[in-house]
Subunit: 337 residues, 2 copies
Amino acid sequence: MARQPTMKDVAALAGVSLSTVSRVVNGDPGRPDLAEKVQRAIDVLGYRRDLTASNLRRADRTSASVGLVVADVANPFFAALLRGVEDLARTRGVLTYAGSSDEDTDRERELVQGFTARQVDGLVIVPSGGDDSYLLREQQTGATLLFVDRPGVTLNADTVLSDNAGGAATAVRHLHAHGHRRIAFLGDLQRIFTSRERLRGYREAMASLNLAVDESLIRLEVHNSQAAAEVTRDLLSQPDPPTALLTAQNLITVGAIHALRSRQLHHRIAHVGFDDLLLADALDPGVTVIAQHPTSLGERVGTLLFERLDGTTEAPRRIVVPTSLIPRGSGEIAPTG
Amino acid sequence: MARQPTMKDVAALAGVSLSTVSRVVNGDPGRPDLAEKVQRAIDVLGYRRDLTASNLRRADRTSASVGLVVADVANPFFAALLRGVEDLARTRGVLTYAGSSDEDTDRERELVQGFTARQVDGLVIVPSGGDDSYLLREQQTGATLLFVDRPGVTLNADTVLSDNAGGAATAVRHLHAHGHRRIAFLGDLQRIFTSRERLRGYREAMASLNLAVDESLIRLEVHNSQAAAEVTRDLLSQPDPPTALLTAQNLITVGAIHALRSRQLHHRIAHVGFDDLLLADALDPGVTVIAQHPTSLGERVGTLLFERLDGTTEAPRRIVVPTSLIPRGSGEIAPTG
DNA sequence: CTGAAAGCGCTTACAG
DNA sequence: CTGAAAGCGCTTACAG
């Protein structure tokens, strides 16, 4: 394969200096006849500027790229969040790296270091909840760091969150309003901020309703659908089972749906899921959810990122995006028994 | 913010030459005492190598990054595909850019050009089906191009596809085996290769079963769930409605599910969807699907990409990944009369 | 305005 | 083995 043409080649063919080619490529008008000669040479050679070389010498040193680290790009919540970041970045001509940590702090760090080594201008992180003190050093590489979905531990930076506690509390009050007192809570790894917050919202709502919390109804560290299905079956087999479930993450919701159906209890046990799911409205009963707005989370954090890149020096901001209760049937089942 | 330390700073602090620092950073042993001095200086300064500058001068000119262009990263199919590419890239220390074309050829081209300008080593493209002749020029920038999910039009390159026609034919034969003769086909934009292929599989299977195709049962250019719901309702209102539906894309399947349920016909009209969906197995009846294997598609195309980067000069390869029929109930409903 | 020279942060022949 | 110099593909002072 032939070597790719450089500015030098363009300059030689056009019979002008390298500086002139650089100016034309960067939109500096200059003498029209020279600009035209350069443009012709560019077309003939099929010249394409190397943005990484350009970035190396440019005063602002910006690469027009950002990195996004989520738990799993294949999870619909994070996929939508990625799309939000991408769309906002696109409005600025910025391209987006994406990576999945699988909630593993080592992988998170590898991704972050990989992105900064490639000179991203900004880095949006869904922190896994482990030791993130390494981020302090990363910040010194010049990348602008922000958090989304969960706040950082060590670092204070711009952060965009869902109203996790508020959403969970809304779910509890909703179930309570439909007569439930024994409400089970199925939560993800407690290392994860959102899991802890949703549990906190559950506890606070229970307390404010003067409901005693039966600790046997709180099941934590449930990290996938299969585990959630098992835990659900176990809860329903208890001597004194719950009359309602609050599943605090999308894959947990899926597992609970399967377990309820396999036991033929989906019309008898109330259920509210945190985070919406495609087809949740097509089930019978429809699954009542506390919907998050992941695309919006991505757009909001993207907005904050570019405000920083534009030079804002405000103190770190924290934006909390409200959740929405969507009643569809499963959360409006009255307690039986 | 202080300037980030460079190799020059490390060299000065360690009291060695720039070359020595470069060697240490690149793992060349050299004199142990010098290596140790350099390492100490690196730690003290918090030095981080600039990979883009490194790439500029290195003989192989590789950036350890790849780009992926899909229709929409928020669509679960493409999100899983992205995850497959990411996982394979990770095994080689390569990071992944992701972008959404929304089936728009201009956006596709902007993404491709953006990625090549940033010197990606490889580019995996889900082509939108428009004029992709611009790719010939992109290829000359040195990036290795591959296609996934759909083949290129102009360019012949390594390609990984699902067995679209075969999967659609399997769906038709399955419905036929359950007694159906009037099988409707709901397809996406015909500009999209997979839509055309699935229609082809439908027609070929109908022909080989000696079933006359009623053209009024073929509805194309259905590009989102809402349109699919409308088309489904329209089909079911026909004087001579179909007894079965084949919905040829995941969002079309979602729309049809909603329409069938809103008409209370989900237990009477048979339905097979192309591409699996989360919760499809929790519906009543479960939705029978022709499952694709998007993560596998991503991993396979990633494998081909790295074989090329490793120097394979074979003719362009085409891998076709089989689909899997998953019977869950909706596809096994007998025709009603 | 244009062009020659220096330099961005690295790697790589090359000389010692 | 190490270090001084050249160079990757660009941009940016600087001189004319």
